[in-house]
């Protein structure tokens, strides 16, 4: 997530660099690829190569010790008869479906608050961004576990208001809210992108709307939302993909087991357990590929539906 889509008006042709002579262009291309080479080599050796080998392994029975045995689609078929697998799908889907929208809503709300000019704005922006810098780290997962444990700060403050839930960590029905809170708390990255998007909405639009007597809610739905829709789309896509890949926090908070009662058995955690604890690398590879395919399909659906609600400036719609 390094670049954000830009909302700027289409460049006029006079802004564009004039085309150069084609020979020079060829030299430029070569130079470009030379500079890309280290990254390309890494991409092929460390990403494409392993992915292809894992695709092969997903059709085999491979325990790391003996050569892989070809078993066709057996891994994929047994996945759907595996209750733990289905449980891990359920856990992950509910995390994505609830966690991602809440996180994005929080990010947008805070971004809108921080968009207005007031004193100490720089400080607030940094303060709200900070959790996402450290949020994915091992130490935060440990802190989170302590906070939500029996007689931890969360339990104690809730008890003060007469809500006695006990520790969340050991209670199967409270672990998911805990994980969703952990991800919502790390809204910094989408928030910064929203902020950049909000800054690009021309102030005249709001002024004109005020003249016409539009209230804040009307302004939000008729100006902010459509103008920001490419950014919302980008954030939604990135955060959804990201949410499917949750691993560190799940591994640490559940001691690598997915407990209590399987309530934190996230997809990637089960994949890891299958591969490295049970030595079923073929099965784990099949799980990895299924995830790639499903995330791919979801991305495709997002892009297809985006046409109806994402507006780029300059569109005729």
């Amino acid at each position: 997530m390094t670049q954000s889509p830009t909302l700027s008006r289409r460049s006029t042709s006079s802004d564009l660099p004039q085309p150069r002579k084609s020979r020079q262009r060829g030299a430029d291309t070569r130079a470009g690829y030379t500079f890309l080479l280290p990254w390309l080599l890494g991409f092929i050796a460390l990403t494409v190569g392993p992915m292809i080998s894992s695709l092969y392994l997903s059709f085999t029975n491979y325990n790391l010790f003996e050569p892989p045995k070809w078993i066709g689609l057996d891994n994929y078929i047994s996945l759907f008869q595996d209750e733990r697998f289905l449980q891990s799908v359920g856990v992950t889907v509910s995390y994505v479906v609830f966690g991602t929208p809440i996180k994005l809503a929080a990010a947008l709300a805070i971004a809108m608050l921080l968009n207005s000019k007031r004193k100490g704005q720089g400080f607030y922006r940094s303060a709200f961004y900070a959790p996402s810098l450290i949020g994915a780290s091992v130490s935060i997962a440990i802190v989170w576990k302590a906070m939500f444990g029996d007689s931890g700060p969360v339990d104690q403050s809730l008890s003060f208001f007469g809500i006695n839930l006990g520790g969340w960590v050991g209670n199967p029905s409270m672990t998911m809210p805990m994980f969703i809170l952990l991800t919502v708390w790390q809204f910094g990255a989408p928030m910064v992108i929203f902020l950049a998007g909000l800054k690009q909405i021309p102030g005249e639009l709001y002024e004109a709307a005020s003249m016409d007597g539009a209230g804040p809610i009307r302004k939000f739905f008729n100006i902010t939302w459509p103008m920001l829709s490419p950014v919302i789309f980008f954030n939604l896509l990135m955060e959804t993909i990201h949410a499917f890949q949750i691993f560190n926090a799940a591994y640490i908070i559940s001691n690598g087991e997915g407990g209590p009662a399987g309530s934190t058995l996230f997809y990637t955690l089960y994949l890891y357990l299958r591969g490295f604890s049970d030595f079923r690398m073929g099965y784990a590879s099949a799980m990895a590929w299924l995830l790639v395919i499903v995330v791919g399909i979801i991305t495709l659906i997002f892009f297809r539906t985006s046409k109806s609600w994402v507006h780029y400036s300059g569109d005729s719609k």
């Binding site: 010790f65 050991g170 691993f247 560190n248 407990g259 209590p260 890891y272 049970d278 030595f279 690398m281």
Partner: protein
């Protein structure tokens, strides 16, 4: 930690290095070292800093006695240990000598990753004959036990005294043990639990089976007990689940990584006797005592000495002789016993045991193993391939039982399905 890319990379690197190493894995002549030009062997173990310090002392001692061998030592924690060995084995690069656990002996031994130690010179004359088979598979010796441990019920006498409960004398039936757990829960008003659910411990189940002369696994790697046996076992505490006799799974999860007993939340616990030092450290209790496990047959307690850990060598080691000398030293040398005391368990070799002085807690453990001597049966065979997974799923499904997610029938079905799937997978 890990993301998908790392994971795939690891798999790929493992595969790639396997291919490379297979290509250069030509047999090379056995190497011998001299004091001027010593051979180096790699040794790896799992454990905490305390064990690391003791092991380094033992290595230094070995090197001073064997100037022609250098030992390169390396250690990690238990969980990470097996992930590392798996990747190394895939790449053909297991260390020359390794500390080993019984649960993984078949996984690696049967897949030709470990050296048959009967082909090298290791003195096993000082070992109890009933113990050695637990390091053997199909007539080959893959592991030599360093030390033994046995199952026991731990209790904290001070906690019982404060509740006015008399100490158990160590001969009890399951009903009496259940009554004891209930009494602790009732008299403490729920402030102290009796124990964690003892039916969730695989080895306790194994012992109960042996009390009825059933072996958990058959010779050909199948299950030796029926689903009804398992149901009967999990039903043993059916009335106790959810009462103060047994600590809830919620609480246990909250207390991790410490155990319920180590956190002073329960008055007793069934587990291995060499956990003594760990429990004392965690709980800060002044004294903990050990008594035998319950049994409905007073003459058959189902108890056995299990190798608490074994020494093994890699099948691909180029320094068989040096590896054998190091293993021999680690299991037999009295000075090594003096260094480790009971932190690895009670030394298995008589030479080493007799050469070690046991005091304080170490003496409690040794005395317990002496006191149950007349009940001991042969150690069980190394469990089946994939046993580590089965043991973990036994614990997990028992936890589901305590969470009320499954009933006993559902739990037994779930475990049998996983076990049968695993046995089929590794057949």
């Amino acid at each position: 930690m890990i993301n998908r890319r790392n994971f795939l990379t690891t798999v790929a690197l493992g595969t790639a290095s396997a291919a490379v190493l297979a290509a250069c894995g030509q047999p090379s002549p056995a190497q011998t070292g001299s004091a001027e030009n010593p051979v180096t062997i790699n040794y790896t173990w799992w454990g905490n800093d305390d064990r690391a310090e003791r092991t380094r002392k033992a290595i230094a001692l070995f090197e001073s006695k064997n100037p022609d061998i250098k030992v390169n030592g390396n250690f990690t924690d238990f969980a990470g240990y097996w992930q590392k060995r798996a990747t190394e084995a895939a790449g053909g690069g297991l260390p020359d000598v390794m500390q080993w656990d019984l649960s993984y002996l078949r996984d690696y031994g049967q897949r030709n990753q470990l050296l048959d130690l009967s082909t090298v010179k290791i003195d096993t004359s000082a070992f109890d004959k009933s113990l050695l088979p637990s390091g053997q598979i199909r007539g080959k010796t893959y592991g030599i036990p360093t030390s033994t441990n046995a199952f026991a019920v731990y209790y904290d006498p001070a906690k019982l005294a404060s509740l006015g409960i008399s100490e158990p004398d160590g001969s009890w039936t399951y009903d009496e043990y259940n009554a004891f757990l209930t009494e602790v829960g009732t008299k403490s008003g729920g402030a102290l639990f009796g124990s964690s659910d003892y039916t969730s411990v695989w080895w306790m189940f194994n012992i109960w089976l042996r009390q009825q002369n059933i072996e958990a696994f058959t010779e050909d790697g199948k299950l030796g007990f029926s689903k009804d046996d398992l149901k009967e076992w999990w039903n043993k505490v059916a009335d106790l689940r959810g009462t103060p006799a047994i600590i809830s799974e919620e609480r246990i999860t909250q207390l991790l990584p410490k155990s319920a007993f180590g956190s002073n939340a329960t008055a007793s616990e069934v587990t291995w006797d060499n956990f003594m030092a760990g429990y004392l450290g965690d709980s800060g209790a002044k004294e903990l005592k050990l008594v035998p496990v319950p049994s409905d047959d007073p003459d058959n307690l189902g108890l056995f000495l299990k190798p608490s850990m074994l020494m093994v060598a890699s099948a691909k080691t180029k320094n068989k002789d040096a590896a054998a000398r190091f293993i021999d030293f680690m299991v037999n040398d009295p000075e090594v016993g003096q260094i480790f005391k009971t932190s690895r368990g009670v030394p298995a070799s008589k030479t080493q045991r007799d050469g070690t002085t046991f005091e304080g807690t170490d003496k409690l453990v040794v005395d317990y193993e002496k006191s149950i001597e007349k009940y001991l049966k042969d150690a069980p065979e190394p469990p089946i391939v994939g046993f580590g997974t089965l043991e973990a799923s036994f614990k997990r499904i028992s936890a589901d039982l305590n969470f009320g997610k499954l009933d006993v029938n559902g739990a037994a079905d779930a475990w049998f399905k996983e076990a049968e799937d695993l046995i089929k997978q590794n057949a």
